[in-house]
């Protein structure tokens, strides 16, 4: 057990900057681990922390609100003595090893002994003529989602710029409710950052079957307006795709401005070690903003990664809470992701980086199949489409350091669960049981 950070200092307690999945988990974990010092969780949004994944799904169907998506009840914060502060954007932080203070835009000052940054990410913007037009949206928070939901309801033609998870989820939902929807993707394939060519190709076909208009290798020239409102998207070939609503979903950028003020090392996010400690050795960071060594890729690349997922935010926040209290902790769970697009459920287990073999299990035309990724003969990840049994089997196998022989995995009559076996060489490195 190490020394807790920030004990004996003049200011007391932990300040967590960022009202989000990682922030609320960090606060909860501090209490679960027995911390009795004050905890303040501060963020700029008007809502108590809520789940973001439904913003591009159920929320846009009018089936959820920021309140219904809240992680914790107000009673929870009170009983656990977590001071929840909304509508305060922290703009300046100063600190030394004993503590420091954070200043909000309003001038309100938050002193702290321990500091955690769960500041998340902001949508990547593209400099595009017409971006200021009414009807052009980015999607990150519940306020933006509420406006988008309103506008989608009245829209006939919807254009989504960016064929990643967010873009396709919104596009598939709008299409299912009868809109004419076009997805413009600059790359030669969909979801290129996360999945293999096989999975990309399937999603292209599946969305086209559902009537989605998908343009790959698309060049967006400008957004065309009519009376301050968007009316279309002009492409490189001069054609204009009509649009009442445009959603731009081209990824996110980690928020690092506060970390920069503190002089912390930044490299695609706030660089932290396996204990979630930033380069000053006292500040912790977790979630979408943090670039952390990941045990699932300890033998691959530089072994570190910035992930944007619920599982990652939760896991890193638990580690960060333990570190603030001087309790040794490490990653335990396998990275996993999900994306619901129309009636297509994608579940991804593991990280496919550096795969040298891809095995197809099942028939993509049946819209129920899995893509298994191998590195040096060992299973490292899988994309499972409408195949929860495969997903659960792979996630559990990776968690236990097991593999599935590639030649046997193609036989869909045998459950993957039954095929899980001791992994060859890589097993010790691939997971941390």
């Amino acid at each position: 057990m190490g020394d807790p950070i920030g004990t004996g200092a003049a200011p007391r307690g932990t300040l967590i900057v960022g009202n989000c999945q990682a922030g609320v988990q960090l606060a909860s974990s501090l209490r679960e681990l027995g911390d009795t010092e004050p905890i303040t969780l501060v963020g700029e949004e008007p809502h108590a922390p809520y789940q973001r994944p439904p913003l591009s799904k159920a929320f846009l169907k009018g089936e959820a609100t920021a309140d219904s998506l809240a992680f914790r009840s107000h009673d929870f914060y009170q009983t656990h003595r977590i001071e929840l502060v909304t509508r305060e954007r922290i703009v300046k932080i100063t600190r030394d090893a004993r503590g420091g203070e954070a200043v909000a835009e309003s001038g309100r000052i938050f002193p702290f002994a321990r500091l955690a940054l769960t500041v998340g990410a902001v949508p990547r913007t593209i400099p595009l003529e017409g971006s200021e037009l009414e009807g052009v949206h980015y999607l990150r928070d519940a306020t933006e989602a509420a406006v988008l939901e309103q506008q989608l309801r009245q829209a006939r033609n919807v254009v989504v710029i960016g064929g990643g998870f967010i873009g396709l989820e919104v596009a598939a939902g709008a299409r299912a409710s009868g809109k004419d929807v076009t997805v413009l993707e600059a790359a030669p394939r969909l979801i290129g950052r996360a999945v293999s060519e096989q999975t990309s190709a399937f999603y292209l076909q599946a969305h086209r079957r559902r009537g989605l208009n998908v343009v790959l290798n698309a060049t967006v020239v400008r957004l065309v307006g009519e009376h301050d409102r968007v009316a279309g998207v002009e492409l490189g070939d001069g054609s204009v795709v009509p649009a009442d609503v445009v959603l731009i979903g081209v990824g996110v950028i980690p928020r690092t401005e506060l970390a920069e003020q503190l002089g912390l090392l930044i490299d695609n996010g706030i660089v932290v070690d396996a204990q979630a400690l930033a380069s000053d050795g006292v500040t912790v960071a977790a979630g979408d903003c943090a670039n952390m060594p990941n045990p699932s890729i300890s033998d691959f690349g530089n072994g570190r990664l910035r992930l944007e997922s619920v599982q990652n935010a939760v896991e890193q926040a638990k580690v960060a809470a333990a570190t603030l209290l001087g309790i040794p902790a490490e990653h335990k769970t396998v990275p996993w992701f999900w994306s619901d697009q129309a009636d297509l459920k994608l579940q991804i287990a593991g990280l496919n980086g550096g795969h040298d073999q891809v095995v197809l299990r099942g028939d993509p035309d049946s819209e129920k199949f899995s893509v298994l990724y191998y590195r040096a003969g060992t299973l490292i990840a899988a994309d499972c489409i409408n195949s929860p049994l495969d997903f659960m089997a792979v996630r559990n196998a990776l968690h236990k350091g097991l593999s599935v022989p590639a030649d046997a995995a193609t036989d869909t009559s045998i459950p993957l669960k039954k095929l899980a076996t001791e992994a060859p060489a890589l097993s010790e490195k691939v997971t941390t049981p």
Binding site: S28, E32, Q51, P53, P54, K57, L69, A70, F71, R72, S73, D75, F76, H80, V310, Q311, V314, K332, T333, W336, W338, D340, K345, Q347, P388, L389, F391, M392, A393, R395, N396, H399, K417
Partner: protein, 106 residues
Amino acid sequence: MPTVTYVAHDGSETIVDGFAGDSVMETAVRNGVPGIVAECGGSLSCATCHVFVCADSAELFPPVAGLEDDMLDGTAVDREDNSRLSCQLKLTDDLDVQVTTPETQV
């Protein structure tokens, strides 16, 4: 007001007042009940809200179906006859439910 009793693997009990329409999972998570993780927030993607429903409470809910059935086959602690994903168990007025949470969810 419905009441949910969560019995942890070690036998400790947490009793929570819930609201009709909320799930057994949401009621647990909002109140910080240990033993239910629920990473996917109820979208049937993670199977980390696995519970064993007490015999008296079992018939209060519609039976296991489709996706839930598949996901239950892969829970961290093996399923039993009374296994459910608690995100699929909706509370109704004046309904008292008791569930036991498994040793681990991941």
